[in-house]
């Protein structure tokens, strides 16, 4: 139990004095002055060889991976090297646009923590194990055309693509995955 006689190293009273609690309203109303700044930060990322091909194939309506002959995985998204075996990957290999839901959520919040508005569909992102890629080789994408709370782990899904002329070579060329069984 507490050793009698030794003063506490961190006194609760001292802790309480360290910071000053304010409220969002104090800032918004100008009671607590603040400085606002929106940083002008833009990036144009080089995707490199592997992701470059991945995007080009998405534009063609196909999903491509790269096989590692050492661990037998087909890596999606493809990479020039296998991060587990740490060796260059081998052949390019198309995988199916069908797969299995490994896990998913029903999100009531948007990316910026604002809430999904009434009447709008909840977000249902999932990790989808693509057919032909190997165990646990999933990608992150969205599920649609089903009531959010009817989705189950293990369901079979298939990609729903944008029209060819709308595709730009991005992960969003797949609109979402829909449940097929």
């Amino acid at each position: 139990m507490i050793d009698e006689g030794r003063p506490m190293m961190i006194s609760p009273e001292a802790v309480l004095k360290t910071t000053t609690k304010i409220k969002l309203n104090d800032i918004q109303s100008g009671k607590v002055l603040s400085v606002h700044d929106k940083p002008n930060l833009k990036y144009a990322w080089d995707n490199g060889v592997a992701i470059g091909r991945y995007l080009a194939e998405l534009k063609n309506g196909k999903i491509i991976g790269k096989r590692c002959n050492s661990c037998k995985r087909v890596l999606v998204p493809p990479r020039l090297f296998c991060e587990l075996c740490w060796r260059p990957t081998d052949d390019w290999e198309y995988v199916q646009d069908t797969g299995t839901i490994l896990t998913f959520v029903v999100s009531h919040v948007n990316w910026d923590a604002s809430r999904v508005k009434k009447g709008q569909r909840y977000h249902t992102p999932a990790v989808i194990e693509l057919d032909g890629a190997g165990k646990d080789q999933g990608i992150l994408h969205l599920i649609d055309e089903i009531e959010p709370y009817d989705i189950k782990i293990g369901m079979r899904v298939k990609a729903v693509w944008k029209e060819p002329e709308e595709r730009i070579g991005a992960i969003t060329d797949i609109k979402y995955f829909k449940v097929i069984e």
């Binding site: 400085v35 002008n40 930060l41 144009a44 990322w45 080089d46 060889v49 990479r79 020039l80 090297f81």
Partner: protein, 382 residues
């Protein structure tokens, strides 16, 4: 406890203004592969890894998450230092000295070409309350510092311009460098003014590239390598970051970092014990200011040495034989990586056309760039 540490492998991609063909992962992979080959090790034999990154330079929040894959460090001890490459190297040196590991890898990367709004980035590093609202392009900080440095030491703009001429010329014969060219003094002096007394050519351009090194404890180094380069001293230090409170004329951080490294290396007379240096020259005057801070000459002397040719490849104290930031390009957090790399290559006798004769001890020094007052120093011997 006093464990000697050596660099037994280095790898790099070389440094170019743009690298559109490779992603940041692929750049690092290439450098790592070369470094491991150079050291004769496999990633699974390595005890720990230190990566170097700064969120907004990579365009990721918590950019450390993308460190392990391309180093072969998945499920291995790895963390990220957001400092210069030489900070990470110091972290690695401490890991080895602690006795916990025999082999440590240090990584640095610049993908500066992917930053579309570079000037604003430096602005974003300023104090958000005192300085940022002024909305001045942050090169003015370098201009102010240069002005004060010239004033305090009597150095001239011509002397600074000579640094540009020298470094860009050195870069011409360094196959790793991306910004070499043959200029004359007047051309540099007449280049458009950015922030008086700083002109456009006084500022180093940016480059992309990656550096990976493998370090080992003495026993392991001697067992694995026939050309280990010993880390005799390492030091790092930070002055106050405030624009209002810093010393504008002197590079105090470099003085203190150097003192720490000299003490560790047992160096009392730097000028006679150090054969050549690779030091931060993101702005031309910085090379001179840093030379003085490293106590390789007295205040005000660096400019004269430069004009006399003492800091040329053939001089008495070669400075930035690789071409420095002005010739190779500023590499963000990897700046120190290029410096260390080139000191290692020189000490191994692998510096090609820029090879210096009979060098045994070299010093690598980096500064973290605007608006910081942080620097690090490493002293290496063969």
């Amino acid at each position: 406890m006093a464990q000697d540490i050596a660099i037994i492998g280095v790898g790099t991609t070389g440094f170019r203004a743009t690298t559109p063909d490779l992603s940041y992962r692929e750049l690092t992979y290439e450098a790592a592969k070369k470094a491991y080959l150079d050291a004769g090790v496999e990633p699974k034999e390595i005890g720990a890894f230190v990566a170097t990154s700064e969120d907004f330079c990579e365009g990721y929040s918590i950019a450390d998450e993308y460190a392990p894959d391309q180093l072969g460090a998945v499920l291995k001890p790895i963390y990220t230092v957001s400092g210069d490459f030489i900070h990470s190297m110091a972290s690695g040196v401490m890991m080895l000295k602690s006795g916990l590991y025999d082999l440590v890898v240090v990584q640095g990367l610049s993908k500066a070409s992917n930053m579309v709004t570079k000037p604003y980035l430096t602005d974003f590093a300023l104090d958000p309350i005192y300085n940022r609202p002024l909305k001045e392009l942050s090169d003015y900080i370098a201009g102010m510092e240069m002005n004060r440095y010239l004033y305090e030491t009597g150095t001239t703009r011509e002397q600074c311009a000579q640094v540009v001429v020298k470094n860009k010329r050195n870069a011409m014969t360094n196959p790793l460098a991306g910004h070499g060219c043959e200029l004359n003094l007047d051309y540099v002096l007449d280049s458009p003014m950015v922030s008086y007394p700083l002109s456009e050519l006084d500022i180093s351009p940016y480059s992309d590239g990656a550096v990976v090194i493998v370090m080992a404890t003495a026993d392991t180094a001697l067992a694995l390598s026939d050309k280990p380069i010993w880390v005799r001293g390492i030091g790092w230090n930070s002055d106050t970051p405030g624009l209002e409170t810093r010393d504008w004329g002197r590079a105090v951080y470099a003085e203190m970092a150097a003192d720490m490294a000299y003490k560790m290396a047992g160096i009392r007379s730097p000028r006679s014990e150090i054969d050549f240096v690779e030091i931060s020259d993101e702005f031309s005057y910085k090379e001179l200011q840093h030379l003085e801070a490293l106590r390789l000459c007295s205040p005000g002397e660096a400019g004269y040495l430069t004009v006399e040719g003492a800091t040329e490849l053939t001089g008495d104290l070669p400075v930035n034989p690789s071409g420095g930031c002005l010739g190779v390009g500023c590499l963000l957090e990897c700046t120190g990586g290029q410096k260390v790399l080139d000191v290692v290559l020189q000490l191994r006798g692998e510096a090609g056309k820029n090879q210096l004769q009979d060098v045994t001890t070299g010093l690598a020094m980096s500064w973290r760039g605007l608006p910081t007052t942080t620097g690090a120093v490493a002293i290496l011997s063969n």
